[in-house]
């Protein structure tokens, strides 16, 4: 076979592979949306789940997902921000820095089930926090920290080093330069990374089944005192999230309309991730424009 013919065959094959992959990916998305969207209704999104009869919703799970997401991001963002600042702005190239970098890499490659099991061992059992939102939020934090740290560090890297020198030359400390000059300039890209990592946290289940638990006790949405057991804000109550719910009803096989509920819940998850993605792109671009426009 001569080179030209070989070239044609190879390129054709590549077209075929790419086409097939597009087909698989679109079929996947299509399946989720086509089977899931018809399930969506106000009732579905707000009603509590029913374990043994048809017609339950995912209201509590949806609320739990968002509550856990907010808590986890609230805990992980300052830690990730501080670490990224230290790593990029202060750390010298020595063995301490290298060791910590390796540790962060290890954490990012740990299976989320291992992170969840550690959360179970440490928070649920050892600190006696039980299956609770707080235990879950810590597990999600550990799961989220390495990626968020890396994404913030990448954002800092995009800012011209000349900006740092500008701040230092005015008699500002490095810390003032970072917090007042570099961070504001990096906000668009930090925000993009933040939202994308929020999407990952939102859909995580393996780290949660043994930390936030697999049950969703009834909530009283009129009671916002976090110290009451039925208050939605109580951080010590067990809280099954949407992703965990999908896993649980499918592995138990008790719920009669498990398939319909899972389809709907999957569609909600995927649409939420889609919105996170779009929001990340849109907000990042917009903020950047505002920062640079005349």
């Amino acid at each position: 076979m001569n080179a030209k013919r070989q070239n044609k065959v190879a390129i054709g094959t590549l077209y075929g592979i790419a086409g097939l992959v597009v087909l698989i990916l679109l079929a996947l998305l299509g399946y989720i949306l086509v089977s899931g969207v018809p399930q969506l209704s106000w009732h579905f999104l707000t009603a509590p789940a029913k374990a043994f009869t048809k017609g339950g919703g995912v209201g509590i799970q949806l609320f739990n997902s968002f509550y856990l997401l907010i808590l986890a991001m609230l805990i992980s963002f300052p830690i990730a921000l501080g670490s990224a600042i230290y790593l990029y702005e202060y750390a010298k190239d020595n063995w301490v820095t290298n060791t910590v970098r390796t540790a962060i890499e290890i954490l990012s490659s740990l299976p989320s089930v291992v992170v969840g099991l550690f959360g179970f061992l440490f928070f649920v059992v050892k600190l006696n926090m039980g299956f609770s939102i707080l235990s879950g939020a810590f597990a999600l934090t550990f799961f989220n920290l390495p990626l968020l740290t890396r994404s913030i560090e990448d954002s800092l890297r995009t800012i011209d080093p000349q900006q740092r020198e500008g701040g230092l030359a005015l008699g500002l400390s490095r810390w003032e330069t970072i917090t007042r000059v570099i961070l504001p300039a990096a906000v668009p890209s930090i925000l993009t990374g933040f939202i994308l990592s929020a999407g990952r946290v939102f859909g995580e289940a393996a780290a949660l089944i043994y930390t936030a638990g697999q049950s969703a006790p009834a909530l009283n949405f009129a009671d916002w005192n976090p110290f009451n057991i039925s208050s939605p804000l109580n951080p010590m109550r067990p809280a099954e999230t949407l992703a965990v719910h999908i896993w649980k009803i499918n592995s138990e096989g008790i719920m009669p309309d498990a398939k319909a509920i899972s389809s709907g819940a999957s569609a909600v998850l995927v649409i939420a991730i889609l919105l996170f993605n779009l929001a990340a792109r849109y907000l990042g671009k917009r903020l950047y424009k505002r920062l640079t426009s005349a």
Binding site: Q162, A169, L291, T292
Partner: protein
């Protein structure tokens, strides 16, 4: 046996020739004594001994890699993290190269403007006001006043007075560089270090910048690194010629350009270098 006149002249020339400004009776604001700069084990500046006269412009010239920028950046210790600076940097009688000197207070007094304009991603107003706010100046009228005088001194006020809220990143190169000068003088420094401030600018902006510097010297002592010999000749009173990490010649600018005492300087200023 006799030598040709050219060779005679050559042998008559000195290896090194330094006339410090105090010999002419100028008050000295900044001086380096026995200054050595090392990058790791590599020595970048060997014995830089220069004095800088108050309210004058001193130009540092020399080929690329001659150490003039390294020297300049050592003066307000911008090189602290990347290089080792040994020797004394005497600022009005105080050695500011001591470890217990507060570098932030020192840099407020010895400001710096860089090669590439580096306005912050903030409004024009905030670029100037923000360092003041951090140092406790919060009264709006006071800030307004400083922003205006700084911009006027940097010859930018007329062009931007209606756009103070707009992003500084939208300014042209020349305007951005003058904003950086305004930003540097807003914190009321004593000395202004400029590291090739015009190298990224077009000829028109460059000449505007030079006019600005000539006016600024009434208020500040200016030390400028430049590649452009005409620029040094136009604006400075004193010129130091750097080569391979050493100051080979230091004198009044007119001496350096019309009657250099060192062969290498002579070759460099007449464009026969290399």
């Amino acid at each position: 046996m006799f030598m040709s006149s050219d060779v005679q002249r050559r042998t008559a020339m000195q290896e090194r020739h330094v006339t410090q400004p105090h010999e002419a009776g100028h008050p000295i604001v900044l001086a380096t004594e026995d200054l050595h700069v090392y990058y790791g084990s590599k020595e970048a500046i060997f014995e830089g001994d220069l004095q800088f006269a108050q309210n004058q412009i001193t130009a540092l010239i020399g080929p690329s890699g001659s150490g003039k920028s390294t020297y300049l950046r050592s003066l307000n210790r911008m090189n602290d993290r990347i290089a080792t600076v040994k020797g004394r940097i005497m600022y009005r009688g105080v050695d500011i190269n001591q470890p217990d000197i507060d570098v932030y207070e020192m840099r407020r007094r010895v400001g710096m403007v860089f090669q590439r304009p580096n306005p912050f991603a903030k409004s024009i107003y905030d670029n100037i006001a923000f360092a003041l706010r951090l140092r406790g100046v919060t009264a709006k009228t006071k800030l307004d006043e400083i922003v205006e005088t700084s911009l006027r001194q940097a010859a930018l006020w007329e062009q931007v007075k209606d756009d103070l809220d707009k992003s500084a990143l939208a300014l042209s190169g020349g305007q951005a560089q003058r904003l950086c000068i305004a930003r540097a003088i807003a914190v009321k420094p004593d000395i202004l270090l400029l590291d090739e401030p015009a190298s990224a600018l077009d000829p028109v902006s460059t000449s505007q910048l030079e006019d600005t510097l000539l006016k600024l010297k009434q208020h500040y002592t200016i030390i400028i690194v430049t590649h452009n010999m005409q620029q040094a000749a136009r604006i400075s009173e004193y010129t130091a010629f750097f080569n391979q990490g050493r100051v080979l010649e230091y004198d009044t600018t007119s001496q350096i350009f019309t009657n250099p005492q060192v062969q290498v300087t002579s070759d460099y200023v007449s464009g026969n270098f290399g």
